[in-house]
Symmetry: C2
Subunit: 317 residues, 2 copies
């Protein structure tokens, strides 16, 4: 080869290889940064919340990895609210530091998960969550002699697959003051059992549970909010509790179905059927200041008011 | 040169240049991604909140750019809480969707900012914030005939530098039902004036303002929370309002100073001095479920209880 062509070939090889390695550098940095980002997103609910925006930051190579960590599964349809988000081993919780009770707890239940591997009962003891600053923490002493049960929001019976799952439901962040006789040991327990029945029947169920502080008409005709406070740490006693349930249908063309229940924190007569507590989900949202399963088109799922019979019963036969 | 050496030189140049351009690619990708990230962070409070973690994602080149956008200035010492964060042109707000009133509003005030460029009074009209979903929005009709003033949280008088700044304070998200005579047009206005005096005197002041729903002893001796609700959208009437003020000292060795005020939402007698409403900041935090100026070491700033005389008055002479 003539020297002229040699030099030309040399520069061509040089240009191509520097170009290729520049692109490789871009790709390498993006891949590494995404890996680190994914690690953060798995553990930080706020990072997970902004993650759709964050992925746009890496605009050069499109590789839509589906994130498959536990939080992404539980929060698949969006966060009901964003106050003090906390990730536990099998549920996600938003803590109300003003009332010392959770805003909401989200669970995703599947049939496999309801199997019981938990043997030891040692890990079934209530305990304060030390990750909550002391100024906002509820303690065991707050419930003692208060006359109220320590009622679970995410039911312990839904999380028996692993010791840690079960144990986590006993943190006081997942607990609220509930009337014992006729509520925690009555209608509320029936509602929890009903949810597990849905899981056995339809396979995949999302549940969001929380307290309500419902306004009521006062003597002068004005509306007011009124609720009791217990213990030195001033834990609020909710007037009502809600559960919003979303059933991912296992039918081939099945649509997801939602229903919401609101139960007063009071002794509920045994003969009242659960379905009499069915409630418009938008009403629960209005009172709670939350938005449930935002990722789903609401209009396709239910009307503004519930029929007297549960949609799940009617539509899933 | 001999062909052998030519080939060797060729490969050396090739190796070095591909190496350099690989690193250049890494650097280019990182710089571009950071630029995009910074744009997101300027506008999204949640992205800003997780940004210290996000910067760790880009671990290859250290270049500590100090972010200098308005939100970073206002939120320099951390977020009091994280519920429904909203960025306005000159203040940051956390909205309580359950009570249809803000949790808190944060402002950063400097002397330059208090100058008045706003001429038109056209932009000083109260309006609902349409960015809040209708289910959680307060409307003008809620205040009409309620007997309550539409009281500012971030004072309009603090934001006169630009039309938009002033206008933004008139969104109903920045407004709460206040007793007019003796409060909104009395002690509360005096407190706002006092804050502006501090700004004129010390140059840089951070203010966090919000409502409280303080528990009180009920007839049976039990503690309870009780507050009124107004309008069709059920806007809560706070029992108290707080302001937590942090003065960045302009003295050479000066430490920052904080004070907190809690005023009952009631007609306050004219002869009561403002200083009689000084309050332990940790007490405000306990009732509000918030944490103020978390970025500062609290112990260095004040004790657990306030002396009867304001620390700002004593220490700044």
């Amino acid at each position: 080869m003539e020297p002229k062509w040699q030099i030309l070939a040399f520069f061509m090889v040089l240009t191509v290889s520097t170009g290729v390695s520049f692109v490789a550098g871009v790709y390498f940095q993006q891949r590494e940064a995404k890996k680190r980002l994914n690690k953060i997103i798995e553990k930080d609910p706020y990072a997970y919340y902004v993650s759709p925006k964050l992925y746009e930051v890496f605009g050069f190579f499109e590789d839509e990895e589906q994130s498959s960590h536990r939080m992404a599964q539980i929060m698949k349809y969006g966060f009901p609210g964003l106050d003090d988000l906390r990730l536990y081993s099998d549920f996600v919780l938003s803590y109300d530091r003003r009332n010392r009770v959770a805003h909401w707890v989200c669970e995703h239940l599947e049939v496999d998960q309801l199997r019981t591997n938990v043997v030891s009962r040692r890990h079934r003891t209530y305990q304060p969550d030390m990750r909550v600053p002391s100024n906002f923490r509820s303690e065991l002493t707050d419930y003692r002699k208060s006359g109220f049960d320590r009622g679970h929001l995410a039911a312990a019976g839904n999380h028996h697959l692993e010791q840690e799952h079960c144990q986590d439901t006993f943190f006081l962040t997942n607990v609220a003051p509930q009337i014992g006789e006729g509520f925690n040991r009555g209608a509320w327990r029936n509602l929890e059992t009903y949810v597990r029945n849905l899981v056995h029947r339809f396979g995949s169920v999302y549940v969001c549970t929380g307290p309500l502080y419902k306004p009521h008409q006062k003597d002068g005709g004005k509306l007011g909010v009124e609720y009791e406070i217990i213990g030195l740490n001033m834990v609020a006693v909710p007037t009502h509790f809600f559960k919003v349930i979303m059933v991912e249908s296992s039918l081939p063309m099945g649509k997801p179905y939602m229903e919401g229940y609101v139960l007063p924190n009071a002794a509920i007569p045994k003969d009242l059927p659960l379905r009499s507590f069915l409630c418009d989900i938008r009403e629960i949202e209005h009172y709670a200041g939350l938005k449930f399963f935002d990722g789903l088109r609401r209009s396709a799922i239910f009307g503004s008011n519930y029929p007297s019979e549960s949609q799940v019963f009617r539509d899933f036969g």
